[in-house]
Subunit: 317 residues, 2 copies
């Protein structure tokens, strides 16, 4: 492990790939890894890109990579697919396109798919970002298909979040409804060569107008990603947003919030697992479950009983 | 509280409404309530209905209520809106329609909106179902707008889950992609008077064909809810699914799983809150957060330190 981490810090791509696989598989040695790389993180700026399937996110990312690379920055890309393993295909095809960048040593691309829960996926994504951060990437782009909670979770890790929409009839407003409005630092209306683009841009701006006193007003940028139109503007807007976050102190605040969340999650994970470990030694839980199912007990008093019968907590009430 | 619960068990509608408000507000007395009503639950059959905004779920529920009431069953309806408080309107309008049933004493309708987190909403929904179950409803219909994780969470509480789609171009497949396939016990293709309905039905069936060896093959039912077409078929299919669950033992299994989840959540909630209560007495966490943010500490060893410095757990490794 230590050797792998050293290789990562030296910039070894295979080490990076192996360590991401390790977090993706939720390997036992994961915490050792995260602990070892933590002092080397905090450099990368994280950009999240989300939107409905078919909005053209991958070709957008593709073009954006060209623009950002032209400024000499190194980039990590994590393409997250939270859709069910039952469907597949689309994102794989997209990934093949992105392999155009495969020869560029400063670009590292990795796909991640749901293996277990959405929660597990967003955790693994967060940890993969840490790996790419320690790997020395200046920028980490996280691309995710928009399916509600997963994008919200992933966004919590991004410094700048881009929401990609298309002018398709009525679609924009519906997408916005699902709580997307609050997470966007930047709206991209892709496929701006399709009819209805002006209406979509206006609708988004109208919704943004309803929010007063916000420290940052998201730009709404029409693009045609397959022709590379509007991509430079996205990159400028990302940089403006970063500048805003840095000068206003909001970047530091957001990162402190993330530290709190990380420590809290970590502590609660340990508390819970150690607790169950002990309880399972003492009780045959199956019997308790059966009793509750038969309505002979209720889950609320049973929970208190379990707690009180361990030595972890003094009886308080 | 005890009086309110007694009134609930007697069938007092105002008591039901007040107790649901109590769980919705996450009132301190919530556990006392849940504990008191638990022995009176387990009777109601829970049906979840989900789908994209605009799929016509509310008029479908409206018609379904008529069909079910004709068989003399009493019904509770919980209409859940997990969309952001920033957008509103649609669901309120729908609720006004449903008030047509307000004079029917055997129908109880309640809307629930997101106040805090999605997690909070799905918890409150689950608890409201308990209240309506204890209230004596034969059937509880939970209607929710489809936005990913929230519908999945809510579905975990339903015995039968209905996914509503429309024939709108390409929409069906996209919706299915978001992990919907696995949660549906029954597909409804509403607005079947629109073009493309046959294609949508075929597409869903093709996706279902890819799944072999499943104990239950969901029906795919075209409906025109505003004209009441296909509604009887939905109700038959719900009854068939219930019969399947009951005779195969899967209903009992699912309910036992829910008991496990409920007890687990309850225990972990108590463990976590008691743990933090103690930790906050002993440590100034702000200082630890700052150190982690400055990379002087890492979240993983800090978490272990916090645990080890309490008396809750013996040092194990």
């Amino acid at each position: 492990m230590q050797q792998l981490v050293e290789e990562l810090l030296k910039g070894n791509r295979r080490a990076a790939a192996r360590l991401i696989t390790l977090v993706e598989n939720d390997d036992r040695r994961k915490f050792e890894l995260l602990q070892a790389i933590y002092p080397h993180t905090g450099h990368a700026y994280v950009v999240g890109i989300t939107g409905a399937p078919g909005a053209g996110k991958s070709s957008l990312v593709d073009r954006l990579l060209q623009v950002i690379r032209a400024e000499g920055l190194s980039i990590g890309v994590i393409a997250v697919d939270p859709t069910s393993p039952f469907s597949d295909g689309a994102i794989l095809g997209d990934r093949i396109r992105m392999q155009d960048h495969a020869l560029d040593r400063e670009i590292f691309i990795r796909s991640m798919a749901t293996r277990g829960s959405l929660g597990g996926l967003s955790r693994a994504t967060k940890e993969a970002i840490q790996v790419l951060d320690a790997f020395g990437k200046d920028l980490v782009l996280v691309e995710t298909v928009g399916v509600g909670q997963s994008e919200v979770d992933i966004v919590k890790t991004a410094d700048t979040t881009i929401v990609v929409l298309t002018p398709a009839g009525g679609d924009s407003v519906q997408t916005l409804k699902a709580g997307i409005m609050e997470i966007a630092d930047l709206f991209v209306v892709n496929k701006a060569d399709l009819p209805g683009v002006d209406r979509t841009v206006t609708e988004i701006n109208m919704m943004l107008d309803m929010k007063n006193d916000v420290p940052w007003r998201p730009a709404v940028i029409p693009t045609v990603s397959i022709r590379g139109e509007g991509i430079e503007k996205i990159w400028s807007s990302i940089k403006e947003h970063r500048h805003h976050l840095e000068t206003s102190g909001r970047l530091a605040e957001a990162r402190l919030r993330r530290v709190k969340r990380e420590l809290t999650e970590q502590v609660e994970y340990l508390v819970k697992s150690r607790f169950w470990e002990e309880v399972k030694e003492k009780f045959f839980l199956g019997e308790i479950f059966e009793k509750i199912a038969r309505r002979e007990k209720d889950p609320y008093s049973s929970a208190c009983e379990l707690l009180d019968s361990t030595n972890f907590f003094e009886r308080k009430s």
